[in-house]
């Protein structure tokens, strides 16, 4: 095995080595399996937590640069030790509990949000053959487990017994439950094309037979990718959809009353969820770990970092949306467009098939993957552009109606004012 192969398969070699070591000591069996699984879980959680530290640093640096600030620069070179300083600060802070808090609910909420954020990492394929557990429902599992954060946020909002917390929790439900719909609707086209819900299978479908990257699904389904990304930003509650913790309106939303490590757990949950959405986006639409020259795990890291950079970019530049804008965007733009797109993809993927086996089973026209991608790309862009045109036209009509209404009210006011002479209404 050459050095390049060894570097490419580094994660696989390490994991195989650990498995062999444990089985060598205990002998193959249930005990060894349990220990290997436990080690894998610890490794994945540690990876996620370390990435969380790196993400907080990167986000503060990037957003600072976008806003013409310096960002953290005191702790270590380039402020690199800032996350560790923050961690020490969080550990040493007083752990407060409001006197009127619902104790069990209040204390369980941060644990639940952090646990279920970390659980999603079990199904992410990090490199060929390196995956916690290759569930055949991978992407569905990620979205299902991600919905637990809604419950945790509600528990935090209620348990704190604080009106701002509760308001933040109420906003969360409307937002997170609503944006789950376009998220799922835009995952289905990918599942249709890949023929599987398993994340490893979806990556496989975007890889050529010789291991080189094929056409990523973002070129098949640009509309789905865009809608999934917007829904992902809203699902993680990040700017510009950070209504659940809008500090200028409701202090900090659901985590007003939390301090110390409990607050840190909420931060961990938020960032790990963001990381999970980035990885899912990279896996579904950008081809996952597939890539030339560099080792696969590095490709996944690069793609995930690219997606996360767009998250930071949005945070640094966009103002927060209003609640009604948030809801309108979801239910009047994203959901209808996604449904139309889903139907179009279903029909086109049935008409134009790429594998002879599928053609023999279901009929249809046999085309090359490039042609299929081109057809779906054109259909997606047509739906996207016409959807945007309809939305823009509708918005213009509504705005004109509103202006006309304001003008008619002004007229009425003027008429009412001019009919009063000397304080008494004219007969």
């Amino acid at each position: 095995m050459s050095v390049i192969d060894a570097i490419n398969n580094l994660l696989k070699i390490i994991s195989d080595g650990v498995v062999n070591l444990v089985e060598g000591i205990l002998g193959p069996g249930l005990g060894a399996d349990l220990i290997v699984m436990g080690l894998g879980a610890v490794a994945l959680c540690t990876l996620a937590a370390l990435t969380f530290m790196a993400m907080t640093w990167a986000e503060r640096k990037v957003v600072a640069r976008i806003q013409s600030r310096v960002g953290p620069n005191q702790a270590g070179p380039f402020g690199l030790l800032q996350p560790i300083a923050d961690g020490i600060k969080m550990f040493t802070k007083e752990d407060t509990t409001p006197a009127s808090a619902d104790r069990w609910v209040y204390n369980a909420a941060p644990l639940i949000i952090a646990t279920f954020a970390l659980v999603t990492f079990a199904v992410f394929p990090l490199a060929p053959g390196v995956v916690g557990t290759n569930l055949n429902i991978g992407v569905f599992f990620v979205i299902a487990v991600g919905s637990a954060s809604t419950v945790a946020i509600l528990m935090a909002g209620w348990g704190s017994n604080n009106k701002y917390s509760l308001l933040g929790a109420f906003r969360t439900v409307a937002q997170l439950v609503g944006y789950e719909v376009p998220m799922l609707l835009n995952v289905i086209p990918v599942i249709l094309l890949a023929g599987s819900m398993g994340l490893a299978d979806i990556v496989q479908r975007q890889t050529l037979a010789d291991g080189n990257p094929g056409i990523p699904f973002i070129l098949y389904l640009p509309l789905s990718a865009l809608a999934f990304f917007i829904a992902g930003v809203a699902e993680t509650g990040r700017s510009p959809f950070d209504l659940l913790e809008a500090e200028s309106e409701i202090v900090a939303g659901f985590h007003v009353e939390y301090s110390g490590m409990k607050f840190a757990l909420f931060m961990l949950g938020e960032y790990v969820n963001t990381l999970a959405v980035s990885i899912v986006f990279a896996t579904l639409f950008l081809g996952g770990y597939a890539g030339p020259i560099l080792p696969p795990y590095l490709w996944l890291a690069i793609k995930t970092a690219g997606v996360f950079f767009i998250f930071m970019w949005l945070r640094g530049t966009l103002p927060r949306v209003r609640v009604d804008q948030l809801m309108s965007l979801n239910w009047k733009v994203l959901v209808p467009m996604s449904v139309v797109n889903l139907i179009a993809v279903m029909i086109l993927a049935k008409l134009f098939v790429t594998s002879p086996g599928l053609q023999a089973a279901n009929g249809g026209i046999l085309v090359t993957p490039e042609t299929q991608a081109a057809i779906l790309f054109v259909a997606n862009m047509a739906i996207l552009l016409s959807g945007l045109a309809i939305a823009a036209r509708r918005a213009r009509v509504l705005r004109l109606a509103e202006e006309a209404d304001i003008e008619s009210r002004r007229e009425a006011n003027r008429a009412a004012a001019s009919s009063f002479v000397g304080g008494a209404p004219a007969k």
């Binding site: 299902a144 419950v151 509600l154 109606a401 009210r409």
Partner: protein, 228 residues
């Protein structure tokens, strides 16, 4: 005992314990949270049965959506903290629950019972003994599930009917919470203003001029002059 048996007992205890706490908890919000715990136990049971898709669906639908709706309903209820877990109807509820439980136990139990011409029970569950491998779940169970939903010889009709039912419910929800047009709102305001004016006249009150910002729209009838 095998590990899966221990896990089954633990998960069953979570389901049953959560269920008992739901009906006995004095705080309604706690009751809703125990319901989520109970649902979570069901997720665990599905996982023990190698039914990953059902587990994820149970998680997404029951924990992620239905329980949230229940919590919302609870939060909009008065007296969340001091709710009485039981009212005067508890004996009736107890009788009905016992009857339902007995019927289900008979339907799913191994003992054959003949009532009239129909035979109930006599269900033989696949028995897994220790040391023997559990019956394997086919890898393509998810594929077969999907195919059974579109096959009219299996569950195609039921699936379509459910879809139509949900669509009707969705349309109904949208109609109930529909966005009224500007004209509707203006007409309602005009009616309201007319009623108020009439009441004021009947009461013989002096009609104060309205502040400019809240003046009536052009469509509302002119406020009649009050007596001086």
């Amino acid at each position: 005992m095998t590990i899966s048996q221990i896990l089954f007992i633990v998960m069953s205890l979570v389901v049953l314990g959560g269920g008992v706490m739901v009906v006995t908890a004095r705080n309604l919000f706690h009751a809703a949270l125990f319901l989520i715990l109970s649902f979570f136990g069901v997720v665990g049971l599905y996982l023990l049965l190698d039914a990953g898709f059902f587990a994820a669906a149970q998680f997404l639908v029951y924990i992620g959506a239905i329980s949230i709706l229940i919590i919302f309903a609870v939060m909009l209820t008065r007296g969340v903290q001091l709710a009485q877990p039981a009212n005067s109807q508890w004996p009736a509820a107890l009788v009905i629950s016992v009857i339902v439980f007995v019927i289900m136990a008979i339907m799913l139990g191994p003992i054959a019972i003949t009532i009239g011409q129909r035979q109930f029970g006599d269900v033989s569950w696949p028995n897994v003994t220790a040391g023997q491998p559990a019956p394997a779940v086919a890898d393509d169970s998810l594929v077969r599930l999907g195919q059974s939903f579109v096959d009219f010889n299996q569950y195609g009709a039921a699936f379509l009917l459910t879809a139509v039912l949900i669509l009707v419910a969705m349309v109904g929800a949208i109609w109930v919470a529909r966005d009224r047009t500007l004209k509707d709102v203006m007409e309602e305001r005009a009616e309201l203003a007319a009623e108020e004016a009439q009441e004021a006249m009947l009461a013989g009150l002096v009609q104060q001029p309205l502040p400019l910002g809240e003046a009536q729209s052009a469509e509302s009838p002119a406020v009649p002059a009050a007596h001086h």
